[in-house]
């Protein structure tokens, strides 16, 4: 990293917005995933102009750039795989405009997802995409990864709620795509940029749709004694055309860990639970809740509880949204997978995951968006044991391959990042890559933006890339 780049960035942003000491940089080499990569510099822009100037400097010095929000990502999308300068958007966190009449908000990328809802809920509105990290993750990160969440089953993922973007291209050019209202003539560039994982441009302003809160909501908790019964229930809810706002599944084993954390009254002896939420007009909610309950009972639910008030409902959701972290209680490390399957294949997929776990000697937890077919198997392992670590990787690879075999996809919401780029050939042909690469190069010709992501670096079908080195912790402990 050239010293003159540091000087120029210091004079551009002020020293308080530039980190260059190793002791600071090591705190930006991780995110929510198991990946690791250290940037050479970290900068905090406050305006779009700042971002543009930083990119011009990066071009001048030929250093890679990666954007980052809160660093809660699960595929290493916001890690500086190629070193270089990391742009942290956390200080670009102003809500620029609330247009409640037209149900739009214009925000900077560093605004925290849940803070949008907090700013508009007084008007009966909210921002629908609700990733589990929503109290920390930024909207910029959501846009980059096209983040989902439990309620995307009914309301769609981030892309369905973004109508316009301001972008900065690698050469520093500032461009706007989409519009606040309706759509603009031409290609759906917004649709292309959302979910491009920061490999095409950096997002500096986002216009999002706000959704009106439903008149009524019912949250059901169905308790099952067999995992098969729960997965058959989901398949039938889908097949019957009931469209819940969310339909989440948690296996019994994972549930115990959650219960230890939040004490929501989840049963400790169940095989699986379903958390199903229906929303809409009172009449529709009544009918749907009854239909869901009926399907649950048909598939031998031991018990179906309905949250009596907002507090009970919040508690149930708190359990679901904190599920991944709660597993930190069970083992020193865990690896959260993210695969998608057709919903009709749910029962067989869960059976297969279980037998893969058995084969490698792991307990594999399942907490996932069942209604979307978006699986999140969680492999718990102890990184101090190299064999366990190897097995965890092998089991994960096998599960993801199986998802693809069933007609599914590599990732439903966490992104490809540097975790799954070597698995991409499972789904895409050389011609597909060729076209994606041309689109990439049209915007990011020198791969200066977020290099080493999405595209496989090696030829042929590779591996899930998980940090090879086991985590080290203080010697005295």
């Amino acid at each position: 990293m050239p010293a003159s780049l540091l000087r120029e960035l210091n004079s551009l942003l002020g020293p308080s917005n530039v980190l260059h000491k190793i002791e600071d940089l090591v705190l930006y080499e991780y995110d929510g995933s198991v990946e690791k990569a250290r940037p050479d510099l970290v900068v905090f822009p406050h305006t779009t102009e700042d971002v543009s100037r930083i990119l011009k400097l990066a071009t001048k010095y030929n250093v890679p750039i990666v954007g980052r929000g809160s660093g809660t990502g699960l595929s290493g999308g916001a890690l500086a795989r190629g070193g270089g300068t990391m742009i942290v958007f956390a200080r670009m966190n102003r809500i620029l405009e609330l247009d409640l009449e037209n149900a739009r908000a214009v925000v900077q990328p560093g605004v925290v997802n849940l803070d949008i809802t907090r700013a508009v809920e007084h008007a009966g509105l909210y921002f629908a995409p609700d990733p589990s990290s929503q109290k920390s993750c930024t909207i910029g990160g959501n846009v980059a990864e096209n983040a989902g969440g439990p309620h995307t089953l009914a309301y769609g993922v981030t892309v369905n709620h973004v109508t316009a973007l301001e972008l900065v291209l690698p050469d520093g050019e500032i461009v706007r795509v989409g519009s606040k209202h309706g759509d603009t003539p031409g290609y759906d560039l917004c649709g292309l940029f959302v979910g491009s994982e920061g490999t095409l441009a950096l997002v500096t302003e986002i216009t999002v749709k706000l959704t009106r809160k439903a008149e009524a909501v019912k949250t059901l908790l169905a308790i099952f004694d067999a995992v098969d019964d729960a997965s058959n229930t989901v398949a039938e809810i889908t097949a019957r055309g009931i469209t819940p706002a969310a339909c989440e599944m948690v296996d019994g084993w994972t549930l115990c860990a959650i219960e230890d954390y939040i004490h929501a009254g989840f049963p400790r002896d169940s095989a699986a639970i379903l958390l199903v939420e229906v929303e809409g007009l009172r009449e529709a909610v009544e009918a749907q809740a009854a239909a869901v309950e009926d399907v649950c009972r048909t598939h031998h639910a031991r018990e179906v509880r309905i949250a009596r008030d907002d507090r009970e409902r919040d508690l149930l959701w708190k359990g679901r949204k904190n599920a991944f972290g709660a597993l930190g209680r069970l083992a020193p490390s865990n690896y959260v997978l993210d695969g998608v399957i057709p919903r009709s294949k749910l029962p067989q997929a869960l059976q297969q995951i279980q037998s893969i776990g058995k084969k490698y000697g792991f307990s594999i937890g399942n907490i996932f968006h069942a209604g979307d077919g978006n699986l999140h198997p969680i492999v718990l392992y102890d990184p101090r044991d190299p064999q366990q670590f190897e097995n965890a990787i092998a089991a994960s690879r096998e599960i993801i391959r199986y998802c693809v075999e069933l007609g599914g996809a590599l990732t439903g919401e966490h992104g490809v990042g540097m975790e799954k780029n070597e698995l991409m050939p499972l789904l895409f042909s050389d011609a597909d890559f060729d076209l994606m690469r041309r689109v990439h190069d049209a915007f990011n010709p020198d791969s200066s933006l977020n290099p080493g992501k999405i595209f496989p670096l090696s030829k042929g079908c590779g591996e899930i890339r998980v940090r090879k080195q086991a985590e080290t912790l203080p010697a005295h402990v």
Binding site: D183, G373, G408
Partner: protein, 460 residues
């Protein structure tokens, strides 16, 4: 004729004679704004479509793909038009998993046929577009034309989950997949929506499907002026009532709709008052939801001091809804020459609509306004002949509409215009700042510019 004959012969050598047509009368059916292709090719598979693309690359030819050709008047005429690629030969269901509510269907599948097949399983695809009797699924998607179910189900961006297509290098490519949630790789398929065939030859589309609602209903409420209608509309939006469709019709639009209704001679229980502004709401749901919405709407209409309001039963609602869905189709033939604008505007400002009507008044043109859900306005200007003064009037009006839309933070395009007007007015409106990026996209998909050159925004 020799060049064309040669072209056909050379094509036949690639695909076989039965796939190629070069007879004059048939060629004319594929004309776009008077431009006639050199030959028609009817591929029967994605591979054959790819072969045509590769042939076009070697021979430096321009291809315009089409389905039922119901909306060839969209966009600008192509700069070159050598081959018409008729995609109706690709019409199979590749995959339908009713239990997963996902569907994979060939480009040329007619929407009507698809709807019948899905209905057998109680499902549907919310692409309620004009010319739905003939339209193909890829044609509807590539045209970018609005679906009247947009308010409830969104645009194809919200339910297209993957696509297969031939890119401008003649390679078979895909993006997305067959599952409802997927962030693997770039969402290139979203770019195909409304791309008017300028990026790739769509061969197959993957969708999520939806369950058919149990019951339907509608309401028509009349108001003596635009402000009243707009206020009612706002009240409905604020109420949060889930509607499938919500349209506001100007008196002229009401009159024309009523006329079409009469022609169809179907049972229609409602009354449309051609002297009034009308708000049409359509809704669906279960047997309890539909009457509840009807009740709430009637209450809102009373509070908004509607000049009249009535609830439509399912049949009447389907009838009126169908006619309005087809509005694009019949409006463009409603007078000897028509300029039909599509304008995206913020919903909250009725002043913008009044300004549009003023444009018509100033040019002494008859005009109809149809405000669709989500702020999409169809603004139609009628002239009685395609003479110079009429064209001149339309040209001036178009300039004003484009600038009005821009001033209102919206965007206007011409969905339909007399061919002669297209040589004076770019139907896509003034270029926007993102044109450079669009060119990047076009170039990466179609580096040799073989797909529908010149049809799209900014001459793409």
């Amino acid at each position: 004729m020799t060049a064309t004959a040669n072209l056909a012969t050379r094509l036949e050598s690639v695909l076989g004679a039965h796939r190629v047509v070069a007879a004059e009368p048939e060629l004319r059916e594929y004309a776009i704004d008077g431009m006639v292709p050199g030959a028609i090719v009817r591929p029967a598979s994605a591979q054959e479509a790819a072969e045509v693309a590769r042939f076009a690359i070697t021979e430096k030819l321009a291809i315009v793909a089409s389905g039922s050709r119901s909306k060839l008047d969209l966009g600008m005429p192509p700069a070159r038009y050598d081959l018409a690629l008729d995609m109706t030969g690709l019409h199979e269901i590749a995959h339908f998993d009713p239990g997963d509510l996902t569907l994979s269907v060939d480009a040329g599948m007619p929407l009507r046929q698809l709807a019948r097949m899905l209905a057998e399983k109680g499902q549907f695809l919310p692409l309620a577009v004009p010319c739905c009797e003939t339209s193909t699924v890829a044609g509807a998607l590539a045209s970018g034309i609005d679906s009247t179910l947009r308010k409830q189900y969104g645009t194809p961006r919200d339910f297209l989950i993957g696509a297969e297509f031939v890119d401008g290098k003649g390679a078979l490519c895909k993006s997305g997949g067959r599952v409802v949630k997927n962030v693997t790789g770039y969402d290139l398929h979203k770019l195909l929506i409304g791309s008017l065939g300028t990026l790739a030859l769509i061969t197959r589309l993957n969708f999520r499907t939806f369950t058919l609602p149990q019951a339907h209903g509608g309401q028509v409420a009349c108001f003596s002026n635009l402000e009243g209608a707009s206020a009612y509309r706002d009240a409905i939006e604020k109420s949060g009532l889930p509607l499938a469709n919500l349209e506001t019709l100007s008196p002229e639009m009401v009159a024309q709709t009523a006329a079409v209704l009469r022609e169809t001679s179907a049972e229609f229980a409602g009354r449309l008052d051609p002297a009034k502004w009308c708000v049409y709401a359509s809704f669906e749901g279960n047997e309890a939801v539909v009457p509840r919405i009807a009740r709430d709407l009637q209450k809102l209409a009373n509070e908004a001091a509607a000049a009249g309001s009535e609830i439509l039963d399912a049949a009447s609602d389907a009838h009126l809804g169908g006619i309005l869905r087809e509005a694009f189709d019949w409006l463009r033939w409603a007078s000897p020459a028509v300029a039909l604008f599509r304008i995206a505007l913020p919903q909250s400002n009725p002043g913008d609509l009044a300004n549009l009507l003023r444009v018509a008044q100033d040019s002494s043109l008859r005009a109809a306004l149809l405000v669709r859900a989500a702020g999409i306005v169809h603004f139609t200007l009628f002239v009685e002949s395609e003479n110079e003064s009429a064209l001149h009037a339309l040209e001036n009006a178009a300039a004003r509409v484009f600038s009005l839309a821009g001033a209102g933070h919206g965007h206007a395009t011409l969905l339909h215009a007399p061919s002669k007007l297209k040589s004076r007015v770019n139907v896509w409106g003034p270029n926007r700042a993102d044109l450079g990026m669009m060119r990047h996209v076009k170039h990466s998909f179609d580096p040799r510019n073989i797909f529908a050159p010149g049809r799209f925004v900014g001459g793409i």
